[in-house]
């Protein structure tokens, strides 16, 4: 049954191809062969209706060559569909009325006739020999698909004496089926006909040639379409029957009955199924006995001989095609995987069992070794399937749809060979089908419309797949009318999804993503095919489930492109196998950028910077995590743990052995993972972590290694979280790529001392990194102090110079330099001692001295600590006064009123100062709920600036609620969360803009722009 379905798929594929390129003989052959196989199997199984229908299709295909007329193809496709129905319900097939379709098939049979002529006979009978016969014959019409068949013999010994059969199709000039070119038959062509045959196998097996070779000869000259064996009922367990063993069957052959009977010694019974054997099992008995099975393999090849349209050299490709479409149950595959794993284990055990001295056995074991490895490799790949398997069902769908809608559509499939995990492939089917339907129905225009807009009438859809960055990209592109962004806006307005102002601010991509919302369709009319406003949201959901993304791009009048990105969440992933403390671990290669090995004696080493170990990778600092420390410590790293690690490895200057650093990438950032040993790469089968162990965050699965031991798969993100690795404090990377894990760091401050009297605090979020410097490196130029850091001349800030604080009596030989972020020129704050980091969640007291460079003070660890205001300090040092900053709102007369929502006192104070300095009135709220009550107290704000991570009500919910209440005030998200996904989410929640904490200039500019936009829209 499965085989039949595959044949049917081939038939469909070929017919569709034929429609485009009618002269593709290869396609016809393949189609013919498939139908023929179905017919043969049906005959064998006694499924008469299928046999009958297949036969009619075969005849039509045979007679109308090439089946150029689209009506013929149409008929054949219709017949194929009927056949598919029959194949799916073979036993109910008897009841199906096929007369109509058979009638259609028969009437569609065209004007070509097949012929078979024995050329060896013609040479003698015709005057002028073979040449004149051929001339005469050719005058009758056009010959196609000619082939000459010669009985198997050695051609080197001369031309064969037996019949030389010339087969082919002749398209007669008359072109009418009322004239079935009688001349052809006159001239010796013999048509293929069906003969019922009967043979006594007991006789055949006793005489020469023997049974097997007789059958082999039979299938050379005839196609056996049905066969059954009957014999008196005996117990086969006791003995093979003595009496006659009758084989009754049907053959298609060009040989006459008499010839067959004579050549093979068939019984001369006319009916083929004699009444002599009342005890015979049903002729329809589908179970072939051994004698018959020798025939079966040949039966498939038989069409090459019988089918007049077949050419001998087209056989191999068809056979290949067959072997590429094998179906295996996934369960079976999984079991195979397990068994191969076991085999590997056995292999390894035998490797150990036979020691080296056993020379002869070692060779065997080594072969076992290589075969096992290969077997494992092959089995691993068996789960992957080319997307072609999925893509191939679309041409038919597109064709049928196009006809239904009266459109002309060409579907171009690209990247069919790209392989995807079977499970993903299956789940992709529905969304893809929907998207393509949309393209045909909504995307592409009617032919006249296309002509009017200067396009070709034939619409074009390109469906492509490609591997990229460990993901699969699937794109559906059409050259239709595209999505009208105005229509989308209008629809969004009418559905009340967004306000006009919102819509105007949205990028085209954002606008198009609206159509993914439930109930959104811009189609003008509802068609049968699609456009009932359901679907795109389902597509989105499906893609989300596969953890993929969907983006829409479109240009009105030029078409639309939908891109799907799917992760390769496969059961098998390439991994680097590493060893730590004698245990093996697998590190997924998709996270791996490179491996650095540090050799003893080399000058390169891991250095210590502030609270993190770093390695200078091509002059960029790579924060380092030691895997062994991660494994050792159950608790996420604390400051103390980090300090311990730093101390433990402080004297590692001279390496005792090679150290390996895996350079891993995580959400755009990199870090180094130190391991003891790198064992090589391997494709491993991912087994999920035991459910009870899911909470162990540093692993996300396990696998069985070649030696039978279990190895754990490292979860890179989990390790970073466990190690509390702070990219911010040690890495010189743009804040834009900061990840959520740094958000925790964002709410911490660095405590440090400069003079003997005061202690200072600066939020980590404003610190780029900390550098150790020696006093001697400080240079003085024109009264200013500079030091060169990373080749950049950096201005040194001594706190006592800009604010009223104490200064140290003398510089220490070694001092720390804090390099702040978001400054206009490189500056460094000179520090005599770094104390620690501390949480920021405290209330700020107003500083009595009312210094602008000091935000306020708080008691931290029993000491009065001054919180510095970096922006002001840097301005003061560089001689920039805030007066020189042109206020962006200068064109507006009115003072703007801003609502600032932030739970952290420090940030509230800083941002408030920034904004107040611009001349705005700033009202603060401590969380979303507080913000809402400010709004509901009748205050009218020009802009809302809100943090995201807050207690009681976070910034997401706050924005949603604001929008839900219909408040159209522009909103700016100001957060330490960064990453495109947060920006998108912020937009979804209702924020107009997004800004990562805490760059004064950017913030001020953004606020200014939003206020200006607000002004204009009024």
């Amino acid at each position: 049954m499965i085989e039949a379905r595959e044949h049917l798929a081939v038939v469909e594929d070929s017919l569709l191809a034929l429609e485009k390129r009618p002269d593709s003989q290869d396609r016809i052959d393949r189609c013919f062969r498939s139908i023929h196989s179905i017919k043969g199997d049906a005959g064998f199984l006694g499924l008469q209706p299928i046999h009958e229908l297949a036969h009619a299709m075969e005849s039509l295909l045979d007679q109308t060559n090439p089946p150029a007329a689209s009506s013929t193809i149409e008929t054949l496709l219709a017949a194929r569909d009927r056949l598919a129905v029959l194949v799916d319900n073979p036993h109910r097939a008897q009841a199906v009325d096929l007369s109509e379709i058979l009638q259609r098939l028969n009437s569609a049979a065209g004007e070509t006739t097949s012929f078979e002529i024995d050329l060896s006979e013609q040479t003698g009978t015709q005057p002028g020999g073979l040449l004149s016969f051929l001339q005469q014959f050719l005058a009758q019409g056009r010959i196609r698909e000619g082939a000459i068949q010669i009985a198997p013999c050695d051609l080197r010994k001369g031309v064969p004496r037996g019949p030389v059969i010339w087969t082919g199709l002749i398209q007669t000039n008359t072109g009418s089926k009322d004239h079935p070119s009688p001349d052809v038959t006159l001239m010796g062509s013999k048509r293929v006909h069906t003969e019922k045959l009967l043979a006594d196998l007991s006789v055949w097996s006793r005489s020469e040639p023997n049974l097997v070779s007789r059958f082999r000869d039979l299938v050379d000259v005839a196609c056996v379409t049905a066969g059954a064996i009957s014999f008196p009922s005996v117990d086969l367990r006791i003995a093979i029957p003595v009496g006659p063993v009758l084989w009754s069957g049907e053959c298609e052959t060009r040989l006459s009955r008499a010839e067959l009977v004579h050549r093979f010694g068939f019984l001369a019974d006319q009916n083929g199924s004699p009444a002599v054997l009342p005890l015979s099992p049903s002729v329809m008995d589908p179970k072939p006995t051994p004698a018959v099975t020798t025939v079966t393999p040949h039966r498939r090849q038989a069409p090459a001989v019988v089918a007049p349209s077949a050419t001998a050299n087209s056989v191999p490709p068809v056979e290949n095609e067959k072997s590429t479409t094998l179906r295996i149950q996934v369960e079976l595959l999984d079991r195979m995987m397990t068994l191969v794993g076991e085999l590997t284990l056995v292999r390894n055990q035998s490797l150990l069992a036979f020691a080296e001295e056993d020379g002869s056995r070692r060779a065997i074991i080594q072969r076992l070794n290589s075969v096992t490895s290969e077997l494992q490799d092959v089995t691993l790949r068996a789960r992957m399937q080319p997307v072609g398997n999925l893509f191939n069902k679309f041409p038919r769908m597109v064709r049928d749809l196009a006809r239904q809608l009266g459109k002309q559509v060409e579907l171009d499939l690209q990247g069919r060979e790209v392989e995807l995990d079977k499970t993903i492939l299956e789940q992709l089917s529905d969304p893809l089908m929907h998207l393509i339907r949309n393209s045909v129905d909504h995307g592409l225009e009617m032919p006249d419309e296309r002509r009017a807009s200067g396009k070709s009438e034939m619409g074009r859809i390109v469906l492509s797949a490609a591997h990229e960055d460990g993901q699969v990209h699937i794109q559906i592109r059409d050259d239709g009318r595209g999505i009208d962004s105005e229509a989308v806006k209008a629809k969004a307005l009418s559905l009340g999804l967004k306000s006009a102002a919102d819509l105007d601010r949205m990028s085209p991509r954002e606008l198009f993503s609206l159509i993914l919302l439930p109930g959104f369709s811009t189609a003008k009319k509802v068609t049968e095919v699609s456009g009932r406003g359901v679907g795109m949201d389902v597509v989105k959901t499906n893609i989300d489930q596969l953890e993929g993304t969907l983006t829409i791009d479109s240009a009105v009048g030029h078409g639309c492109s939908i891109a799907l990105r799917l992760p390769l969440t496969l059961a098998i992933i390439p991994c680097l196998i590493v060893a730590v403390d004698g245990e093996n671990f697998a590190v997924p290669q998709r996270d791996l950028e490179e491996v650095v090995s540090l050799h003893p004696g080399s000058s390169e080493r891991i250095e210590q910077a502030f609270n993190t170990e770093v390695y200078r990778l091509r002059d960029r600092l790579l924060p380092i995590v030691r895997f062994t420390e991660v494994l050792k410590r159950k608790e996420p790293f604390t400051v103390e743990a980090k300090a311990e690690i730093m101390t433990a490895h402080a004297d590692d200057h001279a390496l005792a052995r090679i150290e390996y650093i895996l350079v891993l990438r995580l959400a755009g950032r990199r870090f180094g993972l130190v391991v003891d040993q790198v064992k090589g790469t391997q494709e491993i089968v991912v087994k999920p972590m035991h459910p009870s162990m899911k909470r162990v965050g540093i692993f996300n699965g396990a696998t069985i290694m070649g030696d039978g031991r279990v190895a754990l798969i490292a979860d890179i993100q989990g390790i970073v979280e466990h190690a509390k690795l702070s990219f911010e404090s040690a890495l010189d990377l743009p804040a834009k790529t900061a990840s959520v894990r740094d958000a925790a760091q964002a709410h911490r401050v660095l405590l440090f001392e400069y003079g003997p009297d005061e202690r200072f605090a600066l939020p980590l979020i404003q610190i780029r990194r900390i550098e150790m410097i020696s006093h001697g490196d400080i240079e003085r130029v024109g009264g200013h102090e500079y030091i060169t850091i990373d080749g950049v001349s950096t201005r040194i800030l001594r706190l006592n110079n800009v604010i009223n604080v104490s200064a140290p009596e003398a510089d220490l030989p070694q001092m720390s330099l804090i390099l702040p972020k978001f400054v206009q020129q490189p500056i460094g704050i000179l520090v005599s001692r770094i104390v620690d980091t501390e949480s920021l969640a405290l209330d700020l007291q107003h500083h009595p001295d009312d210094e602008t460079g000091i935000l306020g003070s708080a008691i931290v660890r029993d000491r009065l600590t001054l919180f510095l205001e970096m922006h002001h300090l840097s301005n003061q040092l560089l001689g920039i006064t805030s007066v020189e900053n042109t206020p962006v709102h200068s064109h507006s007369q009115r003072t703007k009123k801003l609502l600032l929502v932030d739970d952290t006192a420090f940030f509230r104070e800083v941002v408030k100062r920034y904004l107040a300095a611009e001349g705005h009135e700033v009202v603060t709220a401590i969380h979303g709920q507080d913000g809402l009550s400010q709004l509901s107290h009748g205050h009218d704000f020009d802009l809302i600036v809100s943090d995201i991570e807050m207690p009681v009500m976070d910034g997401w919910e706050f924005a949603r609620e604001v929008r839900r209440r219909g408040i159209q005030t522009p909103m700016l998200a100001l957060t330490s969360l960064s990453g495109i996904e947060y920006e998108v989410k912020a937009k979804d929640c209702g924020y107009d803009s997004y800004e990562v904490k805490l760059d004064h200039d950017r913030l001020v500019r953004k606020v200014g722009n939003l206020l200006a936009a607000q002004e204009v829209s009024r």
């Binding site: 909470r695 162990v696 279990v710």
Partner: protein
């Protein structure tokens, strides 16, 4: 927990830990193996010995000594891994000091467990949790354990530590 009031005698797969006889309902047991190649799971609770490959399937191996609050000992030649069926929990087993025989115990010889010995509160709670009944054999007592609680305890410990 009460012993199930079955009329028919129940079969128990028994084993020894620290010399004492324990048993689990044989219907919960999948197999007993000598496989002792564990892969330690860092950060897992002490009761977890590690992951073990049993014919291509990964199982979680627990230390019954630790579960019972006993000090761990190294694996010996007598050590066995008792694997449980899925009804008792997802692919797991416990390592016991040595395997004993299969005991048939009539329902009237099974008695609900009650705290007999004074022990620390934590250990007491844990043991009450694990033990479902005491079987009275002719010459000694068999402590019937409930393997369905094993993984729960491990999970609780893991949650507590993280």
């Amino acid at each position: 927990m009460k012993a199930s009031p079955l009329e028919n005698p129940r079969l128990f797969c028994s084993f020894r830990v620290e010399g004492k006889l324990y048993g689990v309902d044989i219907l919960d047991v999948k197999e007993v193996t000598t496989e002792m190649m564990y892969t330690r799971i860092a950060h897992a609770p002490d009761e977890v010995l590690g992951l073990v490959n049993i014919r291509g399937h990964i199982h979680l191996a627990l230390d019954l000594r630790r579960l019972l609050g006993l000090p761990p000992i190294p694996v010996t030649g007598e050590s066995r891994l008792v694997l449980f069926k899925p009804i008792a929990g997802h692919s797991f087993g416990v390592v016991v000091d040595s395997i004993s025989e299969i005991h048939t115990i009539a329902p009237d010889r099974l008695e609900t467990f009650s705290l007999a010995e004074p022990a620390s509160l934590a250990t007491q709670l844990r043991q009450v949790d694990l033990i479902s009944a005491i079987g009275k054999l002719a010459d000694e007592l068999l402590v019937v354990l409930n393997p369905r609680r094993f993984l729960t305890i491990v999970e609780q410990n893991l949650t507590r530590s993280t």
